[in-house]
């Protein structure tokens, strides 16, 4: 067993994992109960496990928890924690969430945490809504792409 100090959703937290090469995905889900980040493929093929690390989108199934001690990690729960006063680090989340609801994007919803993380990452990186739509490369078996496209294009 190993102990790692992380910074998750703006708070320092200590997690106990089996080993330092445990993927961050499982530390988030099992150790911290942050289940909004999903296991989809385990091989960086689908995007369901996307989180933001130091502001960049990364697929947490392929990030060793030992490598991100000291990094700033944000999950969907952190972005959504306080809708009344949006997280100043990721102001685009509120827009994305509204666009997702206005356009009734999710179906089963399983991939949508990852989709939203990807969208926020692209918008925060300076892309326009339509450029972000074109750059979305995650998997959605339900086929919500037309609505993701529409939702992102509704954002300036």
């Amino acid at each position: 067993m190993a102990k790692v100090n992380l910074n998750v959703n703006g708070s320092p937290v200590s997690v106990t994992v089996d080993s330092l090469d445990t993927p961050l995905l499982w530390a988030l889900r099992d150790s911290l109960g942050l289940t909004g980040t999903k296991y989809g493929c385990g091989r960086e093929l689908c995007g369901a496990c996307a989180v933001l690390i130091n502001g960049q989108k990364q697929l947490s199934c392929d990030v060793d928890v030992g490598e991100v001690a000291g990094s700033e990690i944000w999950t969907i729960e952190g972005l959504a924690a306080d809708l009344a006063s949006p997280n100043p680090k990721f102001p685009s989340y509120a827009e994305v969430r509204k666009a997702w609801i206005d356009n009734q994007v999710p179906q089963c919803g399983f991939c949508q945490s990852g989709m939203i993380i990807a969208a926020v990452s692209l918008l925060e990186g300076g892309k326009s809504g339509s450029a972000a739509a074109a750059a979305m490369d995650h998997l959605c078996v339900c086929g919500t792409y037309p609505r993701i496209n529409k939702a992102l294009r509704s954002i300036a």
């Binding site: 150790s31 942050l34 091989r43 729960e77 972005l79 179906q107 089963c108 919803g109 490369d137």
Partner: protein, 733 residues
């Protein structure tokens, strides 16, 4: 701390009780970051919490908030919302505070969550709205009658429905919550459906969507219960193999359990369980008893047999439908086609892998499971635990996709056995690799179509044979004489086309790759063959495919209306740029009608869809926007399957184990999709599967105009395996 059950209620946009709780949970204090154990709320507990259960479907709490309990599961189709709209219409509920939960099954006919038209508490066959519409309206109208009667008795006035969950005497209003306790004990009177249209027919925002934009929606995979262990699963690498011997322990595992056809590895975390399972699997310490005849789990061998059976005159034939003398009529037809089409095994590939959490104790059992068959889970748990039904609680979570896979009991049975064996709650989660290699695959089919027509195009004879492995025979039925084989000919039997004679046959191709129900089942392959053949006949006759279908469907007004709508929507008769072709297909199925057209071009010889149009008549459209969403998704699912999907086995070994070899449409592949709903006012039909079947034949029909006629799916077999077939040198006969 707020109650865990409240957190998991599904609130609508705007009300968001769960978000209030989330703020508490994710507050500034570092310790609050750790979310406590999560339990799906269940009506047995909720009932004790101050709210009153009026009947199985409706609960009103002290603040006059309604919770609707539904018998069909939410896996993305919008079922929770659609069913709640039906209840809300009859009772004029306050939509801003409505909550929806999955009903918890009880044993036998007392289970109020059995779909009234299926008489089972399952979700499949696009039956949620079709099956529940009348029964749920009746139940909600009865509930309204009881509330009005109780309110009138209590106030001494004649109350009527005021809207938003209130009754009125004309002067003042009373919340339902004032009378719900009295109402619950009143007898039912004959229901009269409300004439209003405030919910039915309106694109209400889905009740589950807010929770699917903030990480709070609880899928099966997300369930956490106190004292829980985690499990991974190992099946034989050769499909159909059984455990010969397995060790009882492994490094990193709390327990290793021999489950007969698989081995469960239990550990302290998901990652520990998956890692221990991987090491154990590669260590060779599990020995397997392989199937004695590996040709029965070999795609090439199974498909060769299917082609042979498609031509056989001695095969045992199950006749689903026979009208007139199709053989002599075929021989006498001046225009004849004899065509064979094939479709592959498909995996369901739900985004959420199979998983189930079970807590088996000496005198109780509780499950949290993403399932399409809560009632069958109850039976599974009873059989394994030996407990009475009233000691077992089956909580249905959100499903991260289902598509027919999550009606099965394999993963449920494994989780229950594991918890029973280790004496603690266990969350079993399959790896993606196990999920792909141990699916209940769509049957692979060979379909022979003989079509005879006269010079006017009138169909003199239609002789259809589906050769596939019967799902039901694999589950114990006898081949050739059980009515459930109708699933294998759905999409070919009872066609609405005018045909003077017809025969629809099924031939069972005995094999052992485990099969199941894949979104749109029989229509997913038979519609490909039928709608391709109709186009091939149109070409032989020199007729336009749209006009030809209208000719053959002239006796079915709903079909003609859908074709007319598609014609207009797709500008069917307008010129297309050179290099682009249109193709179309039609389906009457799932108690609904659909017609789709695609605009296709070839880019470097490969299919590229620019536009897809679809007109649907699903009767009363409860939630038009949800219907459009289902059709959009169905079209993309059908497109991915037609172009890229197949799972093949070589002597039992699967070629696909993850998404790298099972290409799904991504954003860049997505055409512009236009959906039009044709309102016929008929009883509501299905929509969940309706969008899928027309896509493959529409693509093939368009492709035939630009290049070759493709009769074998997928278009690009082996994609992702590095063996990309040259399109022009493909499988055309």
């Amino acid at each position: 701390m707020t109650s865990t059950s409240e957190r998991n209620m599904i609130g609508t946009a705007g009300s968001e009780p769960l978000l209030v709780n989330r703020r508490t949970l994710l507050g500034a204090a570092a310790s609050a970051l750790v979310i406590p154990f999560v339990v799906i709320s269940n009506p047995r507990r909720a009932r004790a919490g101050g709210a009153t259960q009026l009947d199985a479907y409706l609960q009103i709490d002290a603040e006059n908030r309604a919770t609707v309990f539904v018998g069909s599961c939410e896996m993305g189709q919008g079922t929770m919302t659609g069913l709640a709209q039906i209840v809300a219409e009859e009772l004029q509920l306050d939509w801003s505070t409505i909550r929806v939960e999955h009903g918890v099954p009880v044993s036998g006919s007392a289970n109020a969550y059995r779909n009234p038209k299926l008489n089972m508490h399952i979700t499949g066959g696009s039956t949620a709205i079709w099956g529940w519409y009348a029964g749920l309206r009746d139940a909600a109208a009865i509930a309204r009658g009881k509330l009005v009667a109780a309110g009138s008795a209590a106030t001494g006035a004649t109350l009527t429905v005021a809207g938003n969950g209130y009754l009125t005497d004309g002067a003042r209003t009373y919340p339902y919550s004032d009378f719900v306790a009295d109402a619950a004990s009143l007898p039912a009177s004959a229901p009269t459906w409300a004439a209003s249209r405030n919910y039915i027919g309106k694109s209400r925002q889905r009740v589950d969507i807010p929770s699917k934009t903030d990480g709070s929606a609880i899928f099966g995979m997300d369930v956490r219960v106190p004292n829980m262990l985690y499990a991974a699963i190992i099946h034989c690498p050769t499909n159909g193999g059984k455990v010969q011997s397995a060790p009882s322990s492994a490094s990193g595992a709390v327990a290793v359990v021999n489950l007969g056809d698989s081995v469960g590895v239990v550990a302290g975390s998901t990652y520990a369980a998956m890692s221990a399972a991987r090491s154990l699997e590669s260590s060779g310490r599990i020995t397997w008893k392989l199937p004695t005849d590996l040709t029965r789990v070999d795609t090439a061998a199974i498909n060769a047999k299917a082609l042979s059976l498609s031509k056989s005159t001695t095969a045992k034939v199950f006749k689903e439908e026979e009208v007139g003398a199709p053989d002599s009529s075929y021989a006498a037809s001046s225009r004849r086609l004899d065509l064979t089409y094939t479709t592959p095994n498909l995996a369901h590939a739900c985004m959420e892998v199979l998983n189930c959490t079970a807590d088996v104790r000496a005198d109780s059992c509780e499950l949290w499971v993403p399932t399409q068959a809560a009632e069958w889970c109850l039976g599974t748990a009873m059989a394994i635990t030996g407990l009475a039904a009233d000691r077992i609680t089956v909580n249905t979570t959100f499903l991260g996709g289902g598509f027919g896979r999550k009606i099965e009991q394999d993963y449920v049975s494994q989780a229950v056995t594991l918890s029973k064996t280790v004496g603690r709650p266990v969350k079993l989660m399959w790896s993606r690799e196990q999920d792909f290699r141990n699916d209940r695959y769509r049957p692979a089919s060979a379909m022979r179509v003989r079509l005879g027509a006269d010079a006017s195009g009138a169909i003199k004879s239609f002789i259809f044979r589906n050769v596939s492995t019967s799902i039901n025979v694999q589950r114990g039925s006898t081949p050739g004489n059980n009515p459930e084989d109708t699933g294998a000919v759905a999409g070919a039997a009872n066609l609405p086309y005018a045909m003077q004679t017809r025969r629809v046959e099924f031939v069972h191709n005995d094999s052992d790759l485990p099969l199941g129900y894949w979104r749109s089942v029989g229509e997913s392959y038979n519609t490909f063959a039928v709608e391709s053949a109709i186009d091939e006949m149109a070409k032989l006759l020199g007729k336009d495919p749209m006009a030809y279908r209208k000719q053959l469907l002239a006796g079915d007004a709903r079909a003609v209306a859908v074709l007319d709508a598609l014609s207009t929507l797709s500008k069917w008769n307008a010129r297309l740029p050179s290099g682009t072709a249109r193709g179309m297909a039609f389906l009457k199925g799932f108690f609904s009608y659909a017609a789709a057209a695609v605009e296709l071009k070839l880019v470097s010889g490969r299919v590229s869809l620019s536009k897809v149009y679809c007109a649907v008549d699903c009767g009363v459209a409860i939630n038009p926007d949800s219907i459009r969403a289902q059709i959009e998704g169905g079209i993309l699912h059908g497109m991915s399957a037609a172009l890229w999907h197949e799972v093949t086995f070589t002597k039992g070994k699967a070629a696909v184990s993850n998404f790298d070899r099972y290409k799904m449409a991504k954003m860049a592949d997505v055409p512009v999709i236009s959906v039009q709903i044709v309102e016929s006012g008929a009883e509501p039909g299905g929509i969940g599967e309706l969008g899928v079947p027309c896509v493959a034949p529409a693509i093939a029909n368009a492709h035939a105009k630009l290049a070759t006629r493709r009769r074998n799916l997928p278009f690009y077999p082996g994609l992702g395996l590095g063996e990309i077939e040259d399109d022009e040198g493909g499988d055309d006969d």
